[in-house]
């Protein structure tokens, strides 16, 4: 099936070359980081995780969001999602590859990464994160590939794909739950120490993942002859809407608990993010932008004429993705580390090399996504034709 990926239009190849160029640029900066250490980043003794882990967290959400097309189609026989389930699965594959790469580029000693498997530590949440992320990646590759192959050959998919699909559902919930457990089980970090973190992660995931899928559907409609179906996109936008409202609601709950209880070790972080703390407010404009983007997005999706507007919908989705990204990536990491456990304030901003390496990782993810989507759309065109 892979041979499909090497036949494409001029635009296709231009896009591939562009991605390769970004990967190359990111690679050069990564070599420097590999040789000289993470000193090239903006991370510090107080803010020991940064842009890489932030993007990792966000992308785990995008990967888990794919399950929002799998559940309606496979558990509720929602026929309209028939054409896009494969898109959800392949989006999960690309996102997970980026997640794993973001972990690797964040390691101080990447060549020792396999120590996690050589010395399995069942008390560490990272151990379980490694298991569920790789498990979910494996499930999506196998299921996506087998189903697409069966569609191409116009036969029923092998019987064993069904149980794997059902298994992928708890795995999708699992990857984001365990990722939240990385943070919310730490005693000294008031911002993360909240039982609602995993539900909140899932809510924002089920908003950002399907929102990204809608945008991808638009791109597919523009550049291929395959039509994912407007009704499927409409259903997706309703899913985004309610997940986003849940996410905003959870955030309000967080703000209420930290402010009304008035416990300094919890309140200080929220205050830093929303209003600034002891004169430091690097993230305040970002956080309010995020809140405005997410709230506006939710309103646009709630009102039917706005939701059904084919020109507005992709912009609404882009707003939501960006809003969730700020809240969940930038805010979640910096908010957790500022102020430090000793109540010092060390602010964080990513450096140029850090951003370039992140772009490189995204380029790899988009390359994988492009190739997989090229396969999927071409096969579907062939079958239809």
């Amino acid at each position: 099936m892979l041979e499909i990926a090497i036949k494409g239009s001029k635009n296709y190849w231009l896009w591939i070359v562009f991605l390769l160029a970004v990967m190359g640029a990111g690679g050069i900066f990564y070599i420097d980081q590999f040789m000289n250490g993470l000193m090239t980043t903006g991370m510090s003794r107080d803010v020991s995780w940064g842009f890489y882990i932030a993007n990792f967290t966000f992308l785990v959400g995008v990967a888990a969001g794919g399950v929002m097309v799998v559940i309606p189609y496979y558990l509720h026989d929602y026929e309209k999602f028939h054409r896009i389930t494969i898109l959800g699965e392949f989006l999960a594959v690309a996102s997970l590859i980026m997640c794993l790469l973001f972990i690797i580029v964040d390691l101080g000693q990447p060549t020792r990464a396999f120590n996690v498997m050589l010395y399995p530590s069942p008390k560490s949440m990272l151990f379980y994160d490694m298991l569920v992320l790789n498990g979910y990646l494996f499930l999506n590759i196998v299921v996506g590939w087998k189903i697409l192959e069966a569609e191409r050959n116009q036969v029923e998919p092998a019987w064993w794909t069904k149980p794997l699909i059902y298994l992928s559902i708890p795995f999708a919930i699992g990857i984001h739950t365990v990722t939240a457990y990385l943070y919310c089980g730490l005693p000294g970090r008031g911002f993360w120490l909240t039982a609602i973190l995993a539900p909140r992660f899932l809510a924002s995931a089920f908003a950002a993942g399907p929102a990204f899928l809608i945008i991808l559907c638009y791109i597919i409609r523009k550049f291929t002859k395959f039509d994912p179906g407007w009704e499927a996109m409409q259903t997706l936008s309703k899913i985004v809407c309610y997940a986003l409202i849940a996410n905003l609601f959870f955030f309000v709950c967080e703000v209420f608990v930290s402010y009304y209880s008035n416990i300094p070790s919890h309140k200080a972080h929220v205050q830093y993010l929303l209003f600034g703390y002891h004169g430091y407010h690097a993230l305040v404009p970002w956080m309010w932008t995020s809140m405005i983007l997410m709230t506006t997005g939710a309103i646009f999706l709630l009102i039917p004429p706005l939701r059904n507007n084919k020109t507005l919908l992709p912009f609404t989705c882009a707003m939501i993705i960006f809003g969730v990204w700020i809240d969940k990536a930038l805010g979640m990491i910096s908010g957790g580390f500022v102020p430090s456990p000793l109540h010092h304030v060390t602010e964080y901003a990513p450096t140029g090399p850090e951003i370039m390496i992140s772009f490189g990782v995204y380029a790899i993810g988009f390359l994988v996504l492009t190739i997989l989507y090229k396969l999927a759309t071409q096969v579907k065109e062939e079958v239809r034709g």
């Binding site: 020991s48 530590s121 730490l186 000294g188 000793l342």
Partner: protein, 274 residues
């Protein structure tokens, strides 16, 4: 069943025999011209032992001078880099500028409200405002860093010391997020250009690994007390928390002491006499 166990016994015996056979050959390969090398593993008879090592810091006896000599003694002995020194350009050419937010420290001074942020008090006795408070790794009984480490590079010894294996650490920094006391450091860069005088009896670290206070485990093994205790002019007492006769238990019995962030339940092993 019988057959099976006999077979597995033979298998094990076979493997053992191969091992025995291989040992001399390996020894031969490992030996130099002086003959067969023998690694001898023995315990120093003078080594200090405890069920759970702990530390009591008498804040009344800690002055700025004492703090300075303690920090210097510890950091020099453990090859902790000092990013304020002038780098030897001949030995380490093209050293990049330093980001002081990426510093490394094992024991250092904090103000009261930073060392004990949960005990912040607007009417706190004035003398505490100006007192230097020494902070370091608490070697918690329930250490969150040990729990977080995905490779067991951070582990708890039987005597309560939270130790690190610098060669196993992958530099994921999960332990740094887990520590409620900010006691852990990451080597964002190669620390060696910033060590003025390397102590050859203690390892230097490479870039990309985490490090922190080890309660001078290397000294306890030789029967010596930690550097900070020696340099403290009696302000720091070190001993076995589980031994009711020990010096530090007597001190804990006679004085009002506090620990950092007790409410988190990590059970720090460092106490402060107020």
């Amino acid at each position: 069943m019988m057959e099976k166990s006999r077979r597995s016994f033979l298998k094990v015996a076979g493997i053992a025999a191969i091992g025995l056979g291989a040992a001399p050959a390996m020894n031969f390969a490992a030996s130099d011209s002086h003959g067969t090398a023998h690694a001898v593993k023995s315990k120093n008879k003078k080594a200090l032992h405890a069920q759970r090592w702990g530390m009591v810091i008498d804040t009344n006896k800690i002055t700025d001078e004492v703090v300075e000599s303690i920090v210097e003694a510890c950091h020099k002995a453990h090859n902790v880099p000092d990013f304020n020194i002038e780098v030897d350009e001949k030995k380490y050419p093209n050293t990049r500028p330093v980001n002081h937010k990426q510093e490394v420290k094992w024991i250092w001074e904090e103000e009261f409200h930073n060392a004990f942020p949960d005990k912040e008090d607007e009417f706190l006795a004035e003398k505490f405002h100006d007192l230097p408070f020494l902070v370091t790794c608490n070697h918690c009984k329930n250490a969150p860093c040990v729990q977080a480490c995905p490779t067991q590079a951070t582990f708890k010894r039987e005597d309560g010391i939270v130790m690190m294996d610098f060669h196993r650490c992958i530099g994921c920094r999960f332990c740094m997020a887990a520590c409620p006391f900010g006691s852990r450091n990451f080597n964002f860069r190669d620390p060696r250009p910033f060590i003025e005088e390397v102590n050859p009896t203690f390892p230097t670290r490479s870039k990309g690994v985490v490090e922190k206070c080890n309660f001078c485990a290397e000294r306890l093994a030789k029967g010596e007390l930690p550097h900070c205790v020696e340099a403290s002019e009696g302000a720091i007492v070190f001993g076995d928390l589980e031994d009711s006769e020990s010096d530090i238990r007597v001190l804990l019995n006679e004085n009002y002491t506090i620990r950092r962030k007790q409410s988190l339940g990590t059970e720090p092993s460092v106490y402060y006499i107020m």
